[in-house]
């Protein structure tokens, strides 16, 4: 492995790293109760929400930033962040004609045209730009099926009763440091409601874009799948290339009622920082779902971006016969750090969970799988299967596996398999001897390693994920 090739190729620019010239209405940096009041007022929120925000904020003040994760970074100055930034032109979401053309161009450049005719026919998109949702496509078609898919702000106005019922029901405002912060200052996000027995007629997706500098993005996603319904949801994320670190502290709550299925896929490509580790997004995210009787929640994530990733999409298997799944590919290159995994909490009888985690470390990247499988006393016949595989490229990176298993019911069956391998000279030479270039060989071997996870992604995105992985890995083996 020659360092020359490595250096040459890691200089390849981050394709989504451009900045859009959009005039923004941005709060000055700083956080206090007045900022939260101003934010709530700006969004025209009902009093219950402002109260909830303030309660969260006050709780947050009592918490300390967690330090147990295996990542290192300079401590964040929460007073130096702006907690709200919105494109100045206030878009009316009924018509794309009223969205700032510069924003439309931004999404087009990212390969996410918001004009419906140009979209994949079966995917509806909610586009979140900095702190606000700028457009949601295919709303009429979804409305016919009774599906609500809108920005969080709109849900606050149009469906306050649903929001009040479910907001914070899975991730309480007091859950953890970053979740509490989010609960205090969240600006927008997506809201989904699938009525009883409805199979959502298209894939839903939210595309998050951080544009403004010195701002944090704090969005919330809430998905409620009513009894016997089905929804597949995908989120994608990018950010401009900047020298400073930006904070992204999101919360995602999933509620799968009796017999419902929620499939939640993430392709995360936040700006990872440069080869020297300068800049990049701090992706500190709390994601959790609650599965009622016979419900199923499946998380699939492909994490290639961010300077630091800290997230543990989890499932509380509350109802009997409920199912939780977590399929993850996390890649760290250059100086990226990821501490990611899942929590599967078994409460109901005959609950089943599957965890398949594939960590890829290249460059000087550090990749930690951290997972908890917890079987409570009530969870008769619970089952878990966990598989954690790590792949190392080069000899300066690290892979760590930290599984926690807590079982309080003797009828539980918990399996854990783990492996660590290196892309061998043997594998590379074998491919090259057959005529395949070194870059293509690496990409092929890594994709093979991730296949179990990629096959869980919706078709349209599996291809995107494979490409992304190829790009993120370029130059990792010289």
């Amino acid at each position: 492995m020659t360092t020359d090739t490595l250096q040459e190729l890691t200089r390849r620019p981050y394709a989504a790293g451009f900045v859009s010239a959009v005039e923004a209405d941005t709060f000055p940096p700083g956080l206090n109760e007045d900022v939260i009041r101003a934010l709530s007022e700006k969004k025209g929120e009902p009093p219950f929400l402002l109260e909830w925000r303030l309660k969260s904020y006050r709780h947050w003040l009592t918490l300390r930033e967690p330090t147990w994760q295996a990542v290192t970074y300079k401590s964040i100055d929460y007073q130096a962040i702006s907690y709200y930034s919105a494109p100045k032109f206030k878009p009316k979401k009924d018509s794309l004609d009223e969205v700032d053309p510069e924003i439309l161009r931004t999404y087009e450049k990212l390969g996410i045209p918001l004009v419906e005719q140009q979209r994949l026919q079966n995917v509806a998109v909610d586009a979140v730009f900095d702190s606000v949702s700028v457009a949601t496509t295919f709303k009429d078609k979804l409305a016919k099926a009774g599906v609500i898919f809108c920005s969080f702000s709109e849900a606050v106005r149009e469906h306050p009763e649903l929001l009040r019922k479910y907001l914070g029901s899975v991730v309480p405002h007091s859950d953890n440091f970053f979740a509490a912060l989010n609960s205090a200052v969240f600006s927008d996000g997506s809201f989904v409601y699938i009525p009883k027995g409805v199979r959502c007629p298209m894939e839903l997706s939210t595309y998050f874009r951080i544009n403004a500098a010195e701002t944090g993005q704090f969005e919330r996603t809430l998905i409620v799948a009513d009894e016997g319904s089905y929804v597949s949801y995908l989120e994608g994320c990018t950010a401009p290339q900047r020298d400073t670190n930006q904070l992204h502290a999101a919360v995602v709550e999933l509620v799968a009622l009796k017999g419902a299925t929620i499939k939640y896929s993430t392709v995360q490509n936040w700006y990872p920082g440069d080869a020297e580790g300068k800049g990049g997004i701090y992706n500190f995210v709390t994601k959790r779902g609650i599965a009622h009787e016979r419900a199923k929640i499946s998380w699939t994530q492909v994490e290639t971006g961010s300077a630091i990733t800290w997230k543990y999409p989890s499932v509380i298997l509350k109802g009997d016969d409920s199912v939780g799944e977590f399929y993850s590919v996390a890649l760290t290159n250059n100086l990226q750090q990821a501490d990611t995994g899942t929590k599967m909490v078994h409460l109901g009888k005959n609950t089943r969970s599957t965890i398949v985690s594939k960590g890829i470390s290249a460059g000087r990247g550090q990749n930690t799988y951290r997972g908890l499988v917890k079987v409570l006393k009530s969870a008769e016949n619970a089952r878990n299967y966990t598989q954690c595989d790590s792949l190392l490229l080069g000899d300066k990176c690290g892979a760590h596996t930290v599984p926690y298993i807590e079982v309080k019911n003797a009828s539980a069956q918990v399996e854990h398999e783990a492996s660590t391998s290196k892309i061998g000279e043997d594998q590379l030479f074998y491919c090259r001897q057959r005529g395949i270039s070194q870059e293509d060989a690496v990409s092929m071997i890594v994709n093979g390693f991730c296949r179990q996870v990629f096959k869980e992604l919706p078709m349209e995105f599996a291809v995107e994920a494979q490409k992304l992985l190829g790009v993120s890995l370029e130059g990792s083996v010289g």
Binding site: G424, E425, D426, Q427, F429, Y430, C431, R432, Q433, R434, G435, I436, S437, Q438, D440, M444, I445, N447, G448, F449, C450, R451, Q452
Partner: protein, 263 residues
């Protein structure tokens, strides 16, 4: 002119000299066997011809149809028509056997300025070629060499060779680890691929393989050199008298290694 010309080839790993002046000329349509005790440098020769990084060539040249190979990367040599059937074929989990092979073939075709084969055309061609070594369809969609038996791995190597149609095929101990039935199948595949345009170098420890793949010439290697060359009868004589006949030491001895091959 010979298709493959190896002239005064020296190579080493670290500061250890392994090849100490190899001269070898293999004409198109010919099959040459290279025999020798363990540690004589047979497999190193195969790796050096294919361009493995671990070896440093310190002297000499290798020409394929007059074109020098030594400056070329392994993938470029493959596109020139060099194929190595590995002694230990490598597993690539999650990568389908056919996908792998189509990627390889199309990479070579691109270099040659040929159009890439689409999935359908490729599948049809692959099916046809797989008959040569009796590989069934289920096998082709499994991950590359993953969970294959020793015999399946070797048959897969010959299948790949059939698809890639090299000008020079180097078979590195293709007989090792095979029972007699698998040996026959593999040898049958190799024989089916003999052609007036193709040169083959068959590396083996034992004469046994040469009962099935009959060579035009036999070379005996020892301590990084070819110490004797002859016709087929040289292999038979070697079998009869053992490597000791040529004053050679074999770490494990020819007889024991025969036991391993039957395992």
């Amino acid at each position: 002119m010979a298709l493959l010309s190896v002239r005064n080839l020296h190579a080493r790993v670290g500061d250890k000299d392994i090849l100490k002046g190899i001269d070898l000329e293999v004409g198109a349509g010919e099959v040459h066997a290279i025999m020798g005790p363990n540690g004589s440098g047979k497999s190193t020769l195969a790796s050096v011809l294919a361009g493995r990084d671990a070896y440093e060539v310190t002297k000499g040249e290798v020409l394929l149809d007059g074109k020098s190979l030594l400056e070329l990367a392994p993938e470029a040599r493959a596109a020139e028509g060099v194929f190595l059937a590995f002694q230990y074929p490598v597993e690539i989990p999650g990568v389908g056997n056919l996908h792998f092979l189509r990627t390889a073939l199309n990479a070579q075709r691109r270099v040659k300025g040929l159009e890439e084969l689409d999935a359908m055309d490729f599948l049809q061609m692959a099916k046809e070629k797989s008959k040569l070594v009796q590989l069934d369809a289920a096998f082709m969609n499994r991950s590359v060499n993953e969970g294959f038996s020793g015999g399946e791995k070797k048959r897969n190597e010959i299948f790949q060779m059939a698809v890639l149609e090299p000008r020079l095929a180097i078979l590195d101990e293709t007989d090792s680890g095979l029972d007699i039935d698998a040996l026959r199948t593999v040898a049958g595949g190799v024989n089916g691929l003999r052609s007036p345009q193709r040169a083959m170098v068959v590396i083996t420890h034992y004469q046994r393989l040469l009962d099935y793949i009959v060579p035009d010439k036999v070379h005996v290697m020892a301590s990084g050199r070819i110490i004797r060359s002859g016709g087929r009868e040289l292999a038979l004589e070697l079998e009869e008298k053992g490597y000791g006949w040529l004053g050679l030491q074999d770490g494990k001895g020819a007889a024991t290694k025969g036991g391993e091959a039957r395992r």
